[in-house]
Subunit: 299 residues, 2 copies
């Protein structure tokens, strides 16, 4: 079952207590696609500049990631720079050069329009709505966003909440979006707007799944050495939807397992810069950590 992701492709310059990466592959669509491709074929829609070295993504093509939705525009690729603190849960953005991403208008290629699972990575909610208009009725649509849009385009975002099946967001974003200080209250508010399920990410503290059957409290996989947290959220989403793409029934059990695969995928990506760690692992490595979490949560 194929997955379509529409989002950013970026070159990240990242400093952490463990080192530095310059112009390393990043962006929501690539982090997502990389993680999801352990499970299912992925179709990517995004934009890069003429300076983008496509040979860098060749290994993803070989992992069944389809880049025929990649637009190459004149200009430079989106670049982001950040510096993480000694406590890697804190970071400062050093620069954000949108470049060709600033005028990104996603066009879904005809052969992508039948994708069964759709991930609307964090872009302008108006563009996310436009993507939904371009695709046929998919099996599952999942929405991500960020504080910038919550504050700036709340109406479009709430329209999306009505149209999609699942939303993934972090605890702060949830409180900003709903005005609740309690995440369970906030989650309930969004479910009442029509979501089938909601995943609240809490970084190193795990994630909470809320759906009509109840709540699932998932820990984060314990990582001893977080080298670079960049892309952890999108990688989580990739593991989450990757697993769902393998499920015949999208029920509470499928969603619970998907959350665990999400946290497992994220636990790998943060162990090194960019995609370095994801390049080293195979699907079985994800399964090993999945089972380890099972042991670490049983009582």
């Amino acid at each position: 079952m194929s997955i379509l992701v529409v989002g950013s492709i970026a070159l990240d310059t990242v400093e952490t207590p463990f080192g530095k990466a310059d112009d390393a592959l990043g962006g929501s669509a690539l982090f997502f696609g990389n993680a999801a491709s352990f499970f299912a074929p992925v179709n990517i829609v995004g934009v890069v500049g003429e300076d983008f070295d496509v040979s860098q993504i060749e290994y993803l093509r070989q992992k069944s990631v389809d880049f025929s939705g990649l637009m190459i525009e004149s200009g430079s690729t989106f670049r982001w720079g950040g510096r993480y603190h000694k406590d890697v849960n804190m970071r400062d953005t050093l620069f954000t050069h949108l470049n060709v991403f600033e005028t990104f208008k996603p066009v879904i290629p005809p052969h992508y329009r039948d994708s069964e699972l759709i991930f609307l990575a964090n872009i302008d909610p108006e563009l996310q709505l436009d993507v939904l208009r371009q695709i046929k009725k998919p099996r599952l649509t999942v929405l991500d966003t960020m504080n910038f849009w919550i504050n700036g385009k709340r109406d479009a975002l709430m329209e999306l909440v009505k149209q999609v099946d699942v939303m993934i967001l972090n605890d702060e974003e949830l409180c900003d979006l709903t005005g609740n200080t309690n995440i369970y209250d906030g989650g309930q508010t969004l479910l009442e707007h029509g979501l089938q399920a909601l995943v609240i990410k809490k970084g190193q503290h795990g994630a909470v799944l809320m759906d009509r059957e109840g709540r699932f409290l998932a820990p984060a996989y314990p990582v001893e050495r977080v080298v670079d947290p960049t892309g952890a959220g999108d990688t989580f989403a990739g593991g989450f939807m990757g697993h769902l793409a393998t499920c015949k029934t999208l029920d509470d059990t499928a969603f619970r397992h998907a959350v665990i695969y999400g946290t497992v995928a994220a636990s790998f990506v943060v162990e090194d810069f960019s995609f370095n760690r994801l390049k080293q692992i195979e699907r079985t490595d994800l399964n090993v950590r999945f089972e380890k979490i099972r042991k670490m949560t049983r009582f």
Copy 2:
């Protein structure tokens, strides 16, 4: 199997977004004892002033809490005042009047010295060491502390870490005590000092148990309406040790269940001021939430 706790007895004046309590019963020994008494007899050693109305603790006596270790000194009872923010995970201390607690020198009554489980609630580590000298070899000793002692009496604290079996502390305290920014690294450091197990509390994000058999990642029970978080940590410890007092074998399974009973006990106490909520519940209510957590973590 009886439990001995040595700690503070206080009258708390607390303001939260949900209201205010004046001179309400509190202190680590009382919160702990209240929670633990759902499971086993509790012996309390603490001090109050002549102003303390002992009729207030009569209901605890009826719950098999023994107060023959309670000293009544001339002067006033320890008083603490705090104000919680809209985000109840943040608070400001408004005042701390130690009063008779300032010169507290715990004396363990002879008939308490055979207590099988000992909880050293947060007091001066020198006094905690003195308590250990007064008791016979117990089955299990559990240590709590706070940042104030970590910064001021580190050597005494590290001596305690060598002498006790289990330590309960929060993530920040762990990082302060060990100099690690990663809680798993920090936990490993303490285990290497001889602890049998370590419980790292993460407030609304749950707790992590580290012992020689591995790690247990426990969520917090989801509470929709946190009215007053005062005493949550000591109540957690009370549920934790209360359960252990019922176990024949203190193995990994016993500790895992104890952590869940800890988070369950804490989930009740925060739903109202002081002991108001704990007064309303029975042991079966703890079991109901215990099973709910099982359902919310299964996958």
